[in-house]
Symmetry: D2
Subunit: 301 residues, 4 copies
């Protein structure tokens, strides 16, 4: 039986265009394969995917099942043909969306996923640490596709101001070692949006985010490692503002190849131990703006 | 003892400006009083507040405690001097932030809160329904302050396409009453950002959001009310696209007084009963753009 | 029209009894009034309520709308007749449930709510701090009703072991002031279940939970207060195990009036700054068991 | 340097025993391999793990890093030696915990994980559906280890009472096809705890949970499949009570091999489309109790 229900093709009830129509919160495992990847534990990545197109005023409904078809085509087929990265998968989906939705001018894919990466504690022990990846793509019919790649790394910050205040209050200004301060979980995010030809590795972004905080953190710390993490944190005290500026400095320095119109977002979200709320800092800018500010301020303090 | 720690005033370690620095996730109860408000149960609103300013390249740290001072000043003092609305409170905070942070050019306040409103079931029973409010303000030093006011209403949608398909599959096209379909929770959001002189009531926005879905929902439904809600939903079947366009139509019609540069966001997020993921539609536009589209499309279907 | 649908009264499709049937996640504001309460900001408490009865094998459905009726009766009528506490409200609901559901042998009410309480920083500044309340009741037809009252307080712990390790690693064992350590948010919960005649004040429970951690935390800390909080935390270092045992000691000491069959739960959940996961400790016991252990161990270290 | 910090071995500050001490919220990918598993997409399972032991009154601190060592030993080594199931991994961890924590009498492991399973739509299309797994183990020194295995499946329920009421209100009692009703997402959980020798497959538990609701749901539904899902749901209308009793019936029927002391939990949590809150039903019982009730009630309606 050929079902005729084509109410989606009817005229929109009001004639307004829609910016984004699609499905959100689709859970999908994806098989990834890259040169040098040897750990089977991060070969499968469980993604949370939002996938949208725009809709012209003249059409009542978008065909939402086509979005899921695109998603299945790319993600499920990764089992036989693994994808090389989440952001290249997002670009592939955007291209397919613009073919399937012939009425759409824009296609959007947004992916969030948990990611595990091997690391070493200060004393050299092996650990496997958890990160959150952001990936995405936005394509315009007949125009460019831009891709997004980003990371969230949970690290630690110790406060420089409380450290100085405590020294003053105790009348101990130069004890020869770092004074106590408050310290806490700090989630540092670095997210880049640029053209599809650029190559950015998530492992590099994670390294930059972990250099931006007072110290990275670890799942397993035996005694001397725990001591080292605490000493490192109090030697490298950081405000949320410092974390973001460190991240910006590292991004500008490490991605000299990326074009000026690359969009850069760096965020530091500190789950303050002395408060029940968070401290937060963010910079959103183009690479060109950051390069200009950097040029004006060298040598920085 | 006068503590000297002024590391915040030191030069930024890299010379980058920061877009937003402040505190997030502060929980605050606020006492509200408006003409006609008689129910003590919505006189206190528990807010989740983010409060930020920008930071120039030349300064290392923002004074985060000043943000909390502003917050306390306005929210805690509402006990003796109740605020008239969350968005006017946000505007007040933005003004105070620009005074306290003499180095800032921008101040931002974002509030999310649970709100209860009396309603009637189809048969006229009293109920008290829950909504989520959005409020905020953004001020530029020496420039304008704009305020945001919005609502999220949980309602119900029934699908027009599945209804038609089912009729076809059963060979019953005109049964004289609505055919079964799938139906589900639908969260409809309407959010407006405009200048501080405009007056917008959240209760009106809630009414528009609840008219946009297939039917509003209720905490208490005795038998005949439950039947009415089901019949209403299946008589007014709606795609997520329809919900957004209904919301846009109602906003354009009801707010003819708002200026063309008012920013309008309408979202429909449908927690699909037939899928494990959601269906989603959104329009983001200025009131001027919407008025123009409306003019071109009258008479709409 | 008298609607006849009585499918709920039909025989259960399988003849199994059910332990709990009802509604969950109902949001309800409640007006509270107690002697000495002067701050209008905590006179309204937004509750999240689960409300259940059991169901005999012979009956197909419970009447869920009766649960909402009970809830409305008690909560909405608090506007004219404020309730004296959440746990007394839960007891009242359980009594009404057993009347309305004539077939039920058990009734259960569980409430979680955000609560604000005035506090003072170390230097005496006023603050308003946020806590989570737990309240509940369980009644058996023809038997006793027992009520539950509990609190979650977000405080701070500093680690005693890392503090000692750091001193050893730096070769500084007695610096004359507390050595740095890692510190973090610690959520301490104290929850008591006892008979309806006992009187327990949530403000007292909050005080015990805040004495159990290294230091309470505050929304607003100017410089000297921030220094004091850090010094206090590092002077009173605590493992999660210490936090729970401090809580147990305080509960046993402060509630000598409570009967031996009072159930006590104390939990410490530490959002470790040096790890991405949490450290956790819990004791679940009767007051009688705790009293016996206490007697055997006096004098404790 | 041999660090001497042994504060954990000091006497507990109060002499109270602790029920559970350990780490919670550890994220770990685990490589799984079972006969017949051919899809690489569910060979890696990202787990959320809580891992605890008890602590005697005489010891101040538990050695939390040993819990993470056990976790790493089993989970990370799954890369070279894949585990056969999450619950057997939990049993393995409990055994290792009792060796490492020589002072502990009890060890507890609790795992929650996302799981993907291939399925077919009514018309036979391939889909990949998402489920939540529960696994765990509890061991007593010198005694038995018991393991837990469970699933949460998101399906759909349609309400039998509203369906009948609507028919009455419209004066259409036997239309020859199912009348409209309200329908919604229903999360059905089936969780079994039994001795380590029993063999239970999660795929079987998922099948039982999906048979208990009105219809399973699917990621991709083209028109005729969507119609079939809607018709099936309205043909198999179910209260939350029915869902739980269906689950109990299927468990008793399918697991005649499991011993009488097997603990059974079946839950139905319905995200009501006509309300903003959920409807909920639960049965917690031993297999022996369920068998007895079943015997008394055959033939059930």
């Amino acid at each position: 039986m050929a079902l005729k229900c084509d109410v989606q093709y009817g005229k929109g009830s009001s004639g307004f265009k829609l910016t984004k129509v699609g499905v959100s919160g689709v859970r999908k495992p994806v098989l990834i394969s890259r040169p040098g990847m040897t750990n089977p534990l991060n070969s499968v990545i469980n993604c949370n995917i939002d996938i949208f197109v725009d809709l012209p005023a003249a059409q009542r409904g978008s065909h939402l099942s086509r979005n899921v078809e695109v998603l299945r085509m790319v993600a499920d087929e990764s089992t036989s043909k693994p994808v090389s990265s989440l952001e290249s998968m997002a670009v592939d989906m955007v291209e397919k969306l613009l073919v399937k939705h012939e009425y759409a001018q824009n296609a959007y894919v947004k992916i969030k996923a948990e990611y595990f990466k091997a690391n070493k504690t200060p004393s050299g022990r092996d650990t496997l640490e958890m990160y959150t990846l952001h990936a995405g793509a936005h394509g315009i019919r007949g125009g460019e596709i831009r891709k997004t790649i980003g990371v969230e790394a949970v690290g630690m910050t110790a406060c420089p101001c409380a450290q100085e205040t405590v020294g003053e209050m105790l009348g101990v200004e130069k004890p020869g070692f770092p004074m106590m301060s408050h310290n806490q979980r700090n989630v540092c995010s670095i997210i880049l949006t640029t053209d599809v030809n650029q190559n950015i590795e998530v492992d590099d972004l994670i390294a930059l985010a972990e250099k931006s905080v007072s110290t990275p953190t670890f799942e397993l710390l035996k005694r001397e490692d725990e001591g080292s993490v605490v000493i490192n944190a109090h030697t490298n005290t950081r405000f949320v503002e410092d974390v973001v500026r460190n991240g910006l400095t590292l991004v500008v320095h490490n991605y000299s190849n990326l074009p000026d119109d690359t969009e850069v977002v760096v965020i530091s979200d500190s789950q303050e131990s002395i408060h029940k709320h968070n401290a937060y800092a963010e910079r959103t800018a183009t690479m060109g703006e950051l390069r200009e500010e950097r040029a004006q301020n060298i040598p920085a303090l």
